[in-house]
């Protein structure tokens, strides 16, 4: 599979601070890539370097097979981006804003402009907006308008930084459906977020950033693969240990973790011994556990020097 985003040894230094410290991203065509990291871990700086807004101190960035920022004029029209919240001219209407941004660069024909604007407004659920200035929009509407601007040239790659920020639960659901639909249509999505649930529901691959370092990069399915243990819910937790001697890995209230990747077998043993079983499941690590194991404490904690 071809690489859509690839970085090698990407470094950004601000004075003595290494905001991004040698990361090697690898996003392939067809991925929905979840870029996770605590606040201040360097996510936004990385996204800005991908798009040529911030120039790397060292290392290189390849976007759609071409070197950034040199090839920006060729590559960026094929990329849609939402960086750190939407921004528009408040005194103009949503349509006027989209028309201006479309006219500001290459790769968007003037003849199809009006039709494309109407299409993306429909897509993000703003098809019915009137001539009100953006100033009067709600936060969620602005977010949708920002997404519309990113979709304006039918990009092959979407780079989205916290795209559901400011949306209500229904809005989040709609945007998730939209992203999945775009993904089915062949768009690669790079989603930077600190919302684990969002990434878990959407993404196929995950990268975790911690203090400027990429501490994890893998398929989501592999990261949350079964651990080979079974979780049993039972009101008689103490009796499980007697029945499955030596296989009990841990007891926590009414939850017992038992070695063995076959819940049916575990169930049969327990029921045969007369232990009541109210729930049974393969143990899988949640994304949260994976991320917490890989990354340290929150990067915006400031500990006193000792």
């Amino acid at each position: 599979m071809s690489a859509v985003i690839r970085t090698r040894g990407l470094v950004k230094r601000y004075g003595r601070l290494r905001a991004v410290d040698g990361i090697d991203l690898d996003v392939r065509a067809g991925d929905v890539y979840g870029f996770l990291g605590a606040n201040g871990s360097g996510k936004t700086t990385t996204v800005r370097m991908l798009l040529g807004l911030v120039l790397p101190t060292a290392g290189e960035v390849e976007l759609l097979g071409e070197r950034m920022p040199r090839a920006g004029r060729r590559v960026l029209p094929r990329v849609g981006a939402l960086v750190e919240g939407p921004a528009h001219h408040g005194h103009l209407s949503g349509r006027a804003n989209l028309a201006l941004i479309d006219a500001a660069g290459p790769g968007g024909s003037r003849r199809t402009r009006r039709a494309r604007i109407e299409e993306v407004l429909q897509q993000v659920g703003l098809g019915g907006i009137d001539r009100r200035p953006v100033r009067a929009y709600s936060l969620g509407m602005r977010q949708r308008l920002g997404l519309a601007a990113a979709l304006l040239r039918r990009p092959e790659l979407l780079v989205l930084d916290e795209p559901t920020n400011g949306l209500d639960p229904q809005g989040i659901h709609e945007i998730r459906d939209l992203l999945l639909e775009l993904h089915r249509g062949g768009t690669t999505v790079f989603l930077s977020s600190h919302l684990l649930a969002e990434v878990e529901q959407l993404c196929t691959r995950v990268g975790v950033l911690d203090r400027g370092r990429l501490v994890l990069q893998d398929e989501l399915a592999r990261l949350t693969a079964p651990t080979g243990a079974t979780v049993v819910d039972t009101p008689a937790a103490d009796r499980v240990r007697a029945v499955l001697d030596g296989r009990v890995l841990g007891v926590e209230g009414s939850r017992v973790v038992v070695r063995g990747a076959d819940p049916a077998e575990v169930n049969a043993l327990l029921v045969a011994a007369g232990v009541p079983v109210t729930g049974l499941a393969l143990q899988r690590p949640t994304l949260e556990e994976v991320v917490l194991a890989a990354a340290g404490t929150s990067a915006d904690r400031v500990e006193a020097a000792r």
Partner: protein
């Protein structure tokens, strides 16, 4: 791209409010002079104002001379300072660059938009000045006007020289615009950029009045601003006009090069 920037600038209510406010002062002066019939004596007050009572066609020049020392530079500094820093503060700069607008192209488009603003503003001040001057005062359609030197100028000469003066004032303001645009690439605050440009002008005007600063006086950006008066001498006194043009040219060239060098290599974190 240039079209986009022009549309942004001239569809903005603020732009037209600025131009309107800029015209209010000369109109007020004209009304007061007309009502009281008290023009400043020749050699005092804003240039050309003394002659306005006898020839209203000179009022556009008086109007320019009235707004030139303070109002016009403030307006130009605000618009030029807003050019890049305003987009940065609103957050729209990153979307323009990701579009991609291209940093050099964006800077050129901003420059053209600022030049257009200067030109439109100067023309509107002159135009409003002409209308006000010819309605409130006696215009002399036949005999032409009088030069500052006392000889008389034909109508064509007066019109030609007025156009040259408008051009000269525009070029003078381009210096201000270049300062504003340069500061605008340094900061994300449009206010700071405009104030920076104004600080330069205030410093320059102040040093100009100081005898101790006379060695550097010829290089101060505001030094030759009022030299457009020399265009109305008979014969035209070109020396200061030419020097003024050359000086503004150097300032504009150096500052734009600095603005370009800074903007194209800068991390956009706004």
């Amino acid at each position: 791209m240039i079209g986009v920037e022009l549309r942004k600038l001239f569809r903005r209510p603020r732009t037209w409010v600025t131009i309107a406010v800029l015209n209010a002062l000369p109109v007020l002066v004209a009304v007061l002079v007309q009502l009281t019939d008290l023009a400043p004596r020749p050699g005092e007050g804003p240039p050309f104002l003394s002659a306005v009572l006898t020839n209203g066609a000179l009022f556009p020049l008086a109007a320019l001379a009235i707004v030139l020392p303070l109002f016009l530079p403030i307006a130009v500094a605000v618009v030029a300072g807003d050019a890049v820093a305003g987009e940065a503060q609103a957050g729209t700069l990153r979307y323009l660059l990701v579009r991609p607008a291209g940093r050099t192209r964006l800077l050129v488009a901003k420059l053209v938009a600022v030049i257009a603003f200067v030109l439109v503003t100067v023309l509107v001040v002159a135009g409003v000045g002409y209308v006000v001057g010819t309605t409130l005062f006696d215009a002399q359609p036949v005999g032409g006007g009088t030069s500052v030197s006392g000889t008389s100028l034909s109508q064509q000469e007066l019109a030609g020289r007025s156009l040259m003066a408008i051009g000269y004032v525009t070029v003078s303001m381009l210096g201000v615009a270049a300062f504003g645009l340069f500061f605008s690439t340094l900061t994300d605050s449009p206010l700071a950029a405009a104030l920076g440009a104004l600080a330069v002008l205030v410093t320059s005007s102040l040093l100009f009045t100081l005898d101790a600063a006379s060695p550097i006086a010829p290089y101060l950006p505001t030094r030759y601003w009022l030299a457009f008066v020399d265009l109305f001498r008979d014969p035209i006194l070109w020396r200061d006009v030419v020097r003024g043009l050359a000086l503004q040219g150097v300032y504009v060239g150096v500052l734009l090069a600095a603005a370009w060098a800074n903007f194209t290599t800068k991390d956009v974190t706004s």
